[in-house]
Amino acid sequence: MKIRYLALTLIILSGMSVFIGVSNVTPLDLFQLTEDQAQILLVSRLPRLVSILIAGMSMSICGLIMQQLSRNKFVSPTTAGTLDSARLGILVSLMIFTAASPIQKMLVSFVFALIGTLVFMKILEKIKFKDAVFIPLVGLMFGNIISSISTFFAYRNDLIQNMSSWMQGDFSMIMSGNYELLYVSIPILAMAFFYANKFTIAGMGEDFSKNLGLNYRQVVNLGLIIVALVTASVVLTVGVIPFLGLIIPNIVTIYRGDHLKKSLIHTALLGAIFVLFCDVIGRVIIYPYEIPISLTVGVIGSGIFIYLLVRRKKYGL
């Protein structure tokens, strides 16, 4: 797959995304926008598009980094407790600091996501039985434990409804004014590109890294910080988008290999395309109503995930 085909697909889908919706705005109207139409574009459609692009790219890249650092193809924010920890963090910030600003919420959530991921990585080190599929199962169990803690406290504090809005990823509520936190991810993702080589070396193991004079611990920690920060900002603004960090990097690896320098841009583009595609489908399928993105991504994503699992048996991914 050439990068220009990916870019072209992304542009076409972006166009579709902007012009699909209950209020009618067509490409032709762009030249003579009415007041209302301009409002819809600026307040709702464009923020939605931007947030989809950023969320899609960043969650896919997070998955890629995690898979590289844990040296396991099935580790991702979904399967390592990162998402669940981030949500617990949001809950805690709601409970303790009732008037927390989005940035404060994000920071608390970030701290929880980071701790959760670190704990998972520690568990990973301790596990002797390193079957590729076993590890994410442990991660899912770990995530569910954290999730049940969240539910318990949310229930005690009448916050169940608030919680569920972070449970399901949903772009329909995105409007200018409530999604800007996502921009935090952009400089962080830029760092991921900057560190691409180092992440790749770290993916070859501690001894290998030391031999090449790389500070292994430092690189791994930096990677986890990137993952936790980005995950926190996405969960807080959009909600949980399952499977994304799992399937996109795996698909890209099949045709681009594991050198992050080669696969990062593809991962970012494909991630954005995938989320856009799912979002457009979710908006069209029961038009004029909408299906939340986590549902479409979940259905299509789990299908692809099963395919990857079966394929792995065949080719030994």
């Binding site: 193991g205 001894d207 004079g213």
Partner: protein, 251 residues
């Protein structure tokens, strides 16, 4: 020169490396032999600072390895462990390119590319340089790893059982290459090896270890000796001279 002075390593109170002192000359191949659990791999890992020693001093060309910057050391000494078998989907050329990391931090300059080319040519990997590692045979993969170490262009090269899982043809090929590296490029090579006949035929010096202690360190012809080998392996090993080579018969 590598100088090792009174080095200890303990695992759970058990001395794995017990007061080892030795110095290794430049421009030689030194083989580390001995039974399983003798501390060979541990020793070589300590020399390359992969694991920390508990006591003693290791210097390379007069510099204490613990006081040298990681990146500087990576230009001086490289190690290839058998556990280095990575499962990433990288091409041979990409892997070899990572050998230049200590110099370029990943952005390969023209000079780096030349070094990568040289290393690939030296290991005769030109035809498969764009293949992914997981498509290669064990011997080809091992050669690719050695090419990476070559691209790292260090004076000292440490190899932990480089012949593991290789057939005879590939083993001989690797050992001949190592010999050429020493004779032509003046590298200093330290290897941990189990096959004493390979050690006998290709190395200049042999260090024999047992229970963490050095039993004998000397020129190959002095160590490949019936009495010495009896001490190391607790078995009678007959030594035959074939074409000026000392071959151990222990079957």
């Amino acid at each position: 020169m590598v100088d090792i002075k009174n080095v200890f390593k303990l695992y759970n109170q058990k001395k794995v490396v017990d007061d080892v002192s030795l110095s290794i000359e430049k421009g030689t191949i030194t083989s580390f032999i001995g039974p399983n659990g003798a501390g060979k791999s541990t020793l070589i890992s300590m020399i390359s600072r992969l694991i920390a020693k508990d006591n003693g001093e290791i210097t390379i060309d007069g510099q204490d390895i613990m006081k040298t910057k990681n990146n500087e050391l990576a230009k001086k000494i490289s190690i290839l462990k058998q556990s280095n078998s990575i499962n990433l989907k990288l091409t041979v050329r990409e892997l070899v390119g990572f050998g230049r990391f200590p110099y370029s931090q990943g952005k390969l300059t023209k000079e780096d590319q030349e070094k990568v080319d040289e290393a690939i040519d030296y290991m005769e990997l030109g035809e498969i340089q764009n293949k992914y590692l997981d498509e290669l045979s064990g011997g080809q993969r091992q050669r690719a790893h050695i090419a990476m170490v070559l691209a790292q262009d260090t004076e000292y090269i440490l190899l932990d059982e480089p012949l593991n899982n290789l057939d005879m043809r590939h083993s001989v090929q690797i050992m001949k290459t190592l010999r050429r590296l020493v004779d032509e490029l003046g590298k200093t090579i330290l290897i941990v090896i189990h096959d004493i006949n390979f050690a006998s035929c290709y190395s200049d010096h042999i260090v024999a270890l047992k229970d963490g202690k050095i039993i004998k360190h000397g020129r190959t012809c002095d160590v490949i000796d019936q009495c010495v080998l009896k001490d190391i392996y607790d078995m009678d090993i007959d030594i035959q001279n074939i074409d000026d080579k000392r071959i151990c018969v222990y079957f």
